[in-house]
Amino acid sequence: MLRLAQLIVDGTVLGGTYAICALGMVVIFKATDVINIAQGELVMMAAFFGFTFRVYFGWSFTPSFLLAIGFIIFLSLAIERLALRPLIKAPIWTNIITTMAVLIILQAAARLIWGPEPYAFPPYLSRMPLNIAGIRLTHQDVAILGTSIIYMILLFLFFKYARIGKGMRAVQMDKEAASLMGISVRKMYSYVWMLNAILVGTIGILLAPRLGVYSTMGLLFIKGFVVAVMGGFTSLAGSIVGGFLLGVVETLAGFYISSTMKDIVSFIILILILIVKPTGLFAESVTKRV
């Protein structure tokens, strides 16, 4: 029983990061109709920037964290401006291929700059595990889970009350109407990518001590898609629930079936959801019958 509880808690920690990753993807998709395949690569770049500042330059946590986020924001804006904005009017599938090309470029760039070998990232917090009612958690895990939950709450408040957040919601609903109301759609596109950069940047730096830093670590976050699809790629609440759900299911499958199944299970879930209920687990049906 205790072991099950331990697994569920572990899954929840993992699921929180998936959910944040998926939230960024959903926010981008809703506003700009782009599926950002390079999401995991942004996480990887954040981890590498954090690594450079923290280990290579030996700075303390706060400045390296802030500067790494700054770099990721800059990178996201560059991607948005250089690769995606010229293709705004292109057919939908070109977006997905463009972000695929961005993925290849970022991975290759990381390999050029930092090399292909994995690096260990020293933990920010003490290594001593906490013991809460028999469940062992590291400080790091608590920080990851706490940050994910705080980010989710902040995101909701942001969309509900902040001016820019409301603008983003308007752009998601109707681009023409939004621009008639005096909202600059182009500016909102940039803001959306900045928002995503903050989300994935934080995840990347927080997870780096746990996973290590290497050029293909972005592939781990391909599961962000599974989560985003669980929410139908439109529902923020759906992505959060889906994220925790996937994290738990995956951890349980990894323990009770086999560690191989851990990865396969999430993709089987993805295909099943896409085929059975493409609008996601939590959305209303909007498919067109032909």
Partner: protein
């Protein structure tokens, strides 16, 4: 040299198949490398277990086509982004199976793919090249005929508008699944040729990035033009050889070229050629019109 030409031809088989699916029927498939892997591993596995290569190759193609049917039949309900994600996760599952099902695929250690030894040994590249030519030409003719026949026109109609084509009496289920089957069959045959050409299969040559590579081929060559698939395949087979000295920069070059193509030449090389062809013909027409004009005067 002959090896590179063989590689171009093998890539172009898979690219032609993908072109029928993406360029004509308008469905997005991010899992072409998965189908190629199914064909390649089936063929190599059968050859390893004593079957003749000439029997294994078509079986590899058929098994890949069945996989295509398995993916294509449920996939008729979804389109666009969702189809791209579904096929992508399919390719990912195939990749994971290749890595973990060690008793059949050899896992990360890979699987040796032998070249046929009947009627005589094809160990030399230039002999195996003729095998590839012998298979590429009929496949290309068949693809061209599919595209020019009522099937090709139905595919184009589906790409333009599904509702209209349905009301014109095109059975969407059959045609969309058919496009998937053709695409995956071509991919399977390409895989069956790829294995013996390289001599060795390992899961790292069938990742999602390789699926993206096939899409890049047809986009670069020009979507919906079968010849474009050859141009794209040639580009992506020759570029690594050119950049052999600067191996590190290779992927970066791939990605950057590709984004440039999408932005500045979205219809690919063939689209570029066609545009200038049209304007050239128009110029001649204009001149004739002028000549008329002057003669009348």
């Amino acid at each position: 040299m002959i090896y590179i030409i063989s590689l171009v031809l093998v890539y172009s088989i898979a690219a032609v198949g993908l072109d029928i699916l993406m360029g004509y029927s308008g469905q997005v498939c991010f899992g072409q490398a998965g189908f190629v892997a199914v064909g390649a591993y089936t063929t190599a596995f059968l050859v390893k277990n004593g079957f003749s290569y000439w029997v294994s190759l078509p079986i590899g193609g058929i098994v890949a086509a069945l996989t295509g049917l398995m993916i294509g039949l449920p996939a008729i309900r979804i389109r666009g982004h969702y189809l791209a994600l579904a096929t992508m996760s399919f390719a990912y599952i195939i990749h994971l199976i290749l890595v973990h099902w060690e008793s059949v695929t050899g896992g990360p250690r890979g699987l040796i793919a032998a070249r046929p030894s009947w009627p005589f040994s094809f160990e030399k590249d230039k002999y195996f090249y003729f095998v590839i030519i012998f298979i590429v030409i009929p496949l290309f003719i068949v693809a061209r005929n599919i595209v020019k026949s009522k099937y090709g026109r139905a595919f184009l109609a589906i790409q333009k508008d599904e509702i209209v084509s349905k009301s014109m009496g095109i059975n969407l289920t059959i045609y969309k699944t058919l496009a998937f089957i053709v695409c995956s069959f071509y991919a399977g045959v390409a895989g069956g040729l790829y294995g013996p050409l390289i001599g060795f299969l390992d899961p790292l040559s069938f990742t999602i990035l390789d699926s993206a590579l096939y899409i890049m081929m047809i986009v670069l060559g020009g979507r919906g033009t079968l010849v474009g698939a050859f141009i794209g395949a040639a580009f992506f087979a020759i570029l690594p050889e050119v950049l052999r000295e600067a191996k590190k920069w290779q992927e970066l070059a791939f990605g950057l070229t590709f984004i440039c193509f999408l932005i500045f030449m979205p219809n690919g090389v063939m689209g570029f050629i066609r545009r200038y062809q049209v304007s050239f013909v128009e110029k001649i027409r204009e001149m004739e019109f002028l000549r008329h004009y002057f003669e009348e005067k």
